[in-house]
Amino acid sequence: MKEITGIKEIIKPENLAYRKSNILTDEIMHYCPGCGHSTAHRILAEIIEEEGIQQDIIGISPVGCSVFLYNYIDIDWQEAAHGRAPALATAIKRLLPDKYVFTYQGDGDLAAIGTAETIHACNRGENILIIFINNGIYGMTGGQMAPTTLAGMKSSTSPYGRDVKTMGNPLKMTDIVATLPGTYYVTRQSVHTPANVRKTKKAMRKAFQYQKLNKGTCFIEIVSNCPSGWKMTPVQSNKWMEENMFPFYPLGDLKIPEEQPEQKPKSE
């Protein structure tokens, strides 16, 4: 086999441009090509590593595509029943108030079957982080309509497009929780371009730093793609997301802390 030109130069430590976080395990991720979950996992692992909080963090994985999240990030985990992650997180944080606690949930888990748990955890102002991956579809079960499926959008249970008259309107959970006094920081981001990845990472870092302040719930929605569920290539799905998802779920902060936290986020 021909040696790649300049490989010895490239692998020198000083030329290292990217390395896998030590918090990510060597387990092969089961996600479809082009799916946003793996990027969101990677950012999460990097933040845990950079903030040095591996010993002090407990995650709650949902039911949905990211059900096996506990195989990929090397921290203590609890696997919740469908939609119940914020209830678990509530008890864990109340019983271990010095630990960082977060949930990672999809739109079916958080905005359909777990609506009550989500709203009430946010309304009590539980000092947890909720990471909400919104791809507008049930991915794991094969592309059924989600509460967040756009009007007119096709899925296996809305094969002629979502008819809002009979199937209801897409639910903006992030906008709802932003209105609750219990939430401290609410933002909507994406991970489909390097610039957006950086923004999401910054939001996640802020959210964990805010958790130390005990001021309330932090909520990060990540609008993401589902190439398999949407029946598109990864590139097509990202373009479709920009053209259709972002106008309905616009990116940006929905609620930012009024007072500046005592500890300035490290990233700035």
Partner: protein, 356 residues
Amino acid sequence: MERELRLMKGNEAVAEAAIRAGADGYFGYPITPQSEIIEYLMEANPYETTGMVVLQAESEVAAINMVYGGAGCGKKVMTTSSSPGISLKQEGITYIAGAELPCLIVNVVRGGPGLGTIQPAQSDYFQAVKGGGHGDYHLIVLAPASVQEMADFVDLGFELAFKYRNPVMMLSDGAIGQMMEKVWLNPPKERSKTVPEWATTGKPPTRKRNVITSLELDPDRQEIFNQKLVAKYNEIREKEVRFEEFQCEDAEYLLVAYGTSARVCQKSVELAREQGIKAGLLRPITLFPFPSKRLNKLADKVRLMLAVEMSAGQMVEDVMLAVNGKVPVHHYGRMGGMIPSPDEVVENLKVHITRG
């Protein structure tokens, strides 16, 4: 410190016993006839004294999932409810059983089905001892027959839950929950600082990450896990059977009853004996594991058994399985929140004696 004598409702006794047992957390939702438990805890405000967290959840579903989360951290946590609320909790209970987490669940049973009544019943026996939620699992089920036992079984419940990493249910009823009796309370215990090695409290570099889950996609491995559960349940059947006998030594006719029915039947035994009928009573204290071996042995010397329950006939099936045809097993039950009187039990017993 000495034990303390108090006059309390069964529900209040559970709450006070939980604080004294060093419980770390209580998560509940109001429902009659057991709302005194959360009311008592909220008023006692143990967070200020022992650090015990008390939280009113948005639903029974959330409450049992809070119990899952707390139990996963290795904490002594509990929830309480009554029949319709316990139905809602079944999802969480099967996940807790599947993740092998210790916790205490109290059911102060009322009549059903549906919303039913708010009066005492024993119609949740099947739900409590046969699983309740989906999948092959068992709870350890304790049946108190007094306010004293409602207090005592909080401690016992936590002890068994942690010993076997298994959810424990205290199956009480609206009568015992609501009535006042004297109760000896244990001196307060400090909350435990011991962290079980499986608990999720943050992963130090010295150990592998802990994952609390009940998910296994590989059927071979799932079956191995199921077999492990079966072995655990068999060990519990072997070691944890508890029951009480009343005038069984020379009994020719055996009443079998638990909880409130057992209190009624104790009087029935006395009344029967006044009429020259040699009756006795076996009161199961653990409903799972059921005192099957003892009943089978008693079947060698009694003429018939009568299971008395505030239900259409649920525990009677376990009595029949235990006796395995050795003697006739009958059932007498009241439903809908009605409690049988000692006399009517004796009259029913006499009917079966006459028929042979």
